[in-house]
Amino acid sequence: MNAFQDILILVVVAPGLIFAVFALLWLLGWTPSEHFLSGITGLTFSACTAGVAALVWKITSASNITVTFGSWFAVGSYHFPLVLMVDRLSVPFLALAAVLSGLIGQFSATYLHRESGFLRFFLLLHLFAFGSLLAFAAGSFDLLAAGWEIVGITSVLLIGFFQQRRPPVENGLYVFGIYRACDIGLLVGIFAMHHWAGTASFVGGFPTLTGARAVIVCLLLLLAASGKAAQVPFSGWLPRAMEGPTPSSAIFYGAISIHAGAYLLLRAQPLLAQSVLASALVILIGATTAIHGTIVGRASSDAKTSLAYATLTQVGIVFIEIGLGWRWLAVAHILGNATVRTMQYLRAPSMLHDYHQMHSAVGGELSATGKQIEEMLPARVQLWLYRWALDRGHLDTILERWVIAPLLQISAYLSRQDCTRTPSPTTIRPGRAVQVFASGPAQRSN
């Protein structure tokens, strides 16, 4: 095992180790001081950044770096391969994750000073960094899915960071529901890869699939990617995710988490390239999202929602680029978009100040920005479009009415059948999560 393999392992494992150690100590009743915790965080991510820099240097001069630990477990012919791999695609994402996690840690040390959830936030930040580094450095879809799920759960827990208020928890659950529903795509996709190709590892070549099988796997992965990247029709969760502290909104929905879906598609690119149908669907979803995002963004009146839709618009374009096979343009676009949005999210509280500044700098005529595209439409269509944009394209309502409500009806029907057939008096009541899930969009459509 050479030095760069060690570095790769350290980069991925370090934040996870910090999380595990501090979580364990916390369970044993020890709370570290803010100073100590932010110091450790700074140190960890500086080391990660340095490690990634070394990996970048190695990758540009030589080939991929692969670390194989063997299998986590094996059942029959299936085994869960523990393999890390860094190639030219994953290295920019690793760099992004390491650098931005460090910067967000630095920001949060001041921003969350004296906050009761300080330790919780930093634990989740480390866990998130571990999850995203694992997903980006994974050598197989199995391991990628593990990192993917860690990113998902930390995302939900940080949306619900302010547990004492109701809306953050409700919106966290809503996002959790969408994530879980779309992650079915990733899990079934991996299952299908194992079933048809015998492996889900992409070290040294992609799992060989052909014809309809390739298309099916592509579509399953596309479902997972669209959910994570808040593409149409799942876009409604993105503005709801703005309930957490500003820095977590920045790194999740401006930078890393929102682009993880694009990374998954970039990984699946060899498969995608085989299928015109799947590529066309990626382009269609991306284009719809980009247009949806820019129209809804124009009508949103608050800083974070308008940033959310600005991010979404560009992620939609990234999907188009991936569908067209322009991999490196997509990567450059992701890096640029992630950096700009992180900065803009972190500066979101400055919006009043910035507008004052710009207003005085241009001499008090800020409102005149020239012709708006929507002014070319007839007045009645403008009004309709505005209402459509205000309700975020009715996406939440559509999902609620045509997907969630029928599902709930089916489950209610099934549980009725259960109750009549079995003598047991226990009836299944929809839990809190289901109720919230159903009532969230309904409130908005009233």
Binding site: T110, P247, T313, L346, M351, A361, G363
Partner: protein, 523 residues
């Protein structure tokens, strides 16, 4: 700040007045697109004042305006276009990584990054030397600013100056230099920035008022008229306007090139005293910040507060009026040397010079609503932060360019955020006025707003007799003498000795520094 100055040089004298210094104006600086009222919100300004470049510098202003305009349009367009479909595609993918520069700079070295920014501003946007349009010019007065009078007549100027100096008791024994300091606060990434600015200037920064006041008081025709009102300013007294940033403790002095060369040594002296005082002030404020090391020296503390005002992630740039509990209206000799832990509003007033109580009623008409308003704002934001305050700042989301809401959808949040009030002690403010109960009752009785505040118990009231020092407390609308025995105040040799290393509220103490009689006066 006043105690810090007096400790810096025992022969400095300080006074204080409501931060708009009696000049209610609609002010437009060289960089402002339009005028803004610099006075308490209950007052409507009748006069307009503009800042304009000195004759030699108008060219400089033109180029500054042009460059600011270009920069402003660039900023706006890059911001707007980053959010659009096609332009956003180009700008994020081609230029996006550039935004890592300010991000990293500001997060890793906020203070140095701000210095770099200031240096760039100096280099590319040099500020022209300016003056204020003070003169009333009847021909221009109609046209320039609709409905407002342009500038002040000498009579009006004298009236404004007298309305501050008279009640404050600064009518004789002027020093060679008198510095008038307005205040405001600057912070980054803070939707509640203006909540730290000057309440008496309508939540704006009070520098122009101080500058205007000083410019008025320096004019010969004003001084002639003041002499008729019993305020005798000697010819060798010079007024300087200034601005104190209460967040980073920076003190800026205006119009220094107009100071007579004979006063240069006095200026050097006052500048060094101000520098010592602002560093001491920073050190005393820093004791309440957990993130500043407890053993920090003045240098470190000053750097710490400077960094606070330039930190992108700082939710509590300063504690502002937090912990306020009392407003003392009276002579400084009553409170000088008293460590009040920055919890008191001090208003200078000398009852002996105000036999008809006109000064007191004018003073209380401004001071009581402003101080009571500030105090109640902190009070209610603290006692029920979720309902009367706006909760924690961390999930705040600026909406409609108007206010903040929580997360992605909530009611508009009003009041102060938790980070601003967390160390507050909710008490209704106590006004201690240095006069007799009879005289105060008359003044309060004549003013309906003050009467309502008192009768409905929004404020508490007490008097201290200027002659006998007996204290009367107002209980249920009637003054009764205060008899309880008081403990003797603890004594300390300096403020720093009293507060060093302590994070919590501190009791009053007597700071014993040697003192002589003559010298400069401030505020």
């Amino acid at each position: 700040m006043r105690r810090a100055l007096e400790e810096a040089h025992p022969f400095l004298e300080t006074y204080s007045a409501a931060g708009y210094f009696g000049v209610a104006v609609d002010y437009r600086g060289i960089d402002d697109p339009h005028g803004a009222a610099l006075c308490p919100v209950v007052v409507k300004p009748e006069h307009a004042v503009m800042e304009r470049p000195k004759p030699g510098d108008s060219q400089l202003l033109e180029s500054r305006r042009w460059r600011r305009r270009v920069l402003g349009l660039l900023m706006r367009n890059s911001f707007v276009s980053s959010k659009t479909l096609l332009r956003g595609w180009l700008s994020t993918s081609a230029l996006g990584l550039l935004s890592a520069v300010p991000l990293i700079g500001n997060l890793l070295a906020p203070r140095r990054f701000a210095l770099l920014r200031d240096w760039l501003n100096q280099a590319f946007l040099p500020e022209p030397r300016t003056e204020l349009t003070l003169m009333r010019n009847t021909k221009q007065s109609q046209g320039a600013v609709s409905g407002l009078l342009m500038g002040f007549t000498p009579e009006e100027k004298a009236g404004r100056v007298a309305s501050v100096l008279g009640p404050a008791g600064l009518v004789r024994g002027f020093a060679r230099l008198v510095v008038i300091l307005g205040h405001g606060s600057s912070s980054l990434n803070n939707p509640h920035e203006s909540a730290h600015d000057c309440g008496a200037c309508g939540g704006r920064r009070g520098g122009p008022n101080a500058r205007l006041f000083a410019a008025m008081a320096n004019r010969q025709e004003v001084r002639d008229r003041l002499r008729n009102k019993g305020i005798d300013i000697p010819p060798d007294t010079w007024f300087i306007g200034g601005y104190h940033d209460t967040c980073n403790d920076d003190v800026e002095l205006f119009d220094l090139d107009a100071i007579p060369s004979t006063h240069q040594p006095d200026l050097d002296f006052i500048r060094s005293s101000l520098d010592r005082a602002r560093a001491q002030n920073a050190l005393e404020r820093a004791r309440r910040f957990e993130s500043c090391p407890a053993d920090a020296d003045v240098e470190r503390a000053l750097r710490h507060v400077e960094e606070r005002s330039e930190h992108l992630a700082q939710p509590r740039p300063e504690y502002g009026h937090c912990t306020n509990s009392v407003c003392i209206v009276g002579r400084r000799s009553m409170t000088r040397g008293l460590f009040l832990d920055r919890r008191a509003f001090l208003v200078s007033y000398d009852a002996d010079l105000d036999p008809g109580d006109e000064g007191l009623s004018a003073l209380l008409a401004a001071a009581v609503p402003v101080c009571a308003g500030i105090s109640l704002e902190y009070y209610f934001s603290f006692v029920d932060n979720d309902r009367y305050g706006c909760g924690t700042k961390l999930p705040h989301n600026v909406t409609s360019l108007m206010g903040v809401m929580d997360g992605h959808a909530s009611d508009l949040r009003t009041g102060l955020p938790w980070q601003m009030v967390e160390i507050h002690e909710p008490v209704r403010i106590l006004f201690v006025v240095e006069t007799t109960p009879d005289r105060l009752e008359k003044v309060i009785g004549a003013s309906a707003p003050l009467k309502r505040l008192l009768e409905n118990r929004w404020i508490r009231l007490a008097t201290i007799d200027p002659a006998s020092a007996r204290v009367h407390v107002c209980r249920d609308g009637a003054f009764e003498e205060f008899h309880e025995d008081l403990e003797r105040l603890p004594v300390a040799l300096s403020s720093h000795e009293w507060y060093a290393g302590k994070l919590q509220h501190l009791p009053m103490a007597w700071i014993q520094t040697p003192r002589t009689a003559t010298g400069d006066r401030l505020r």
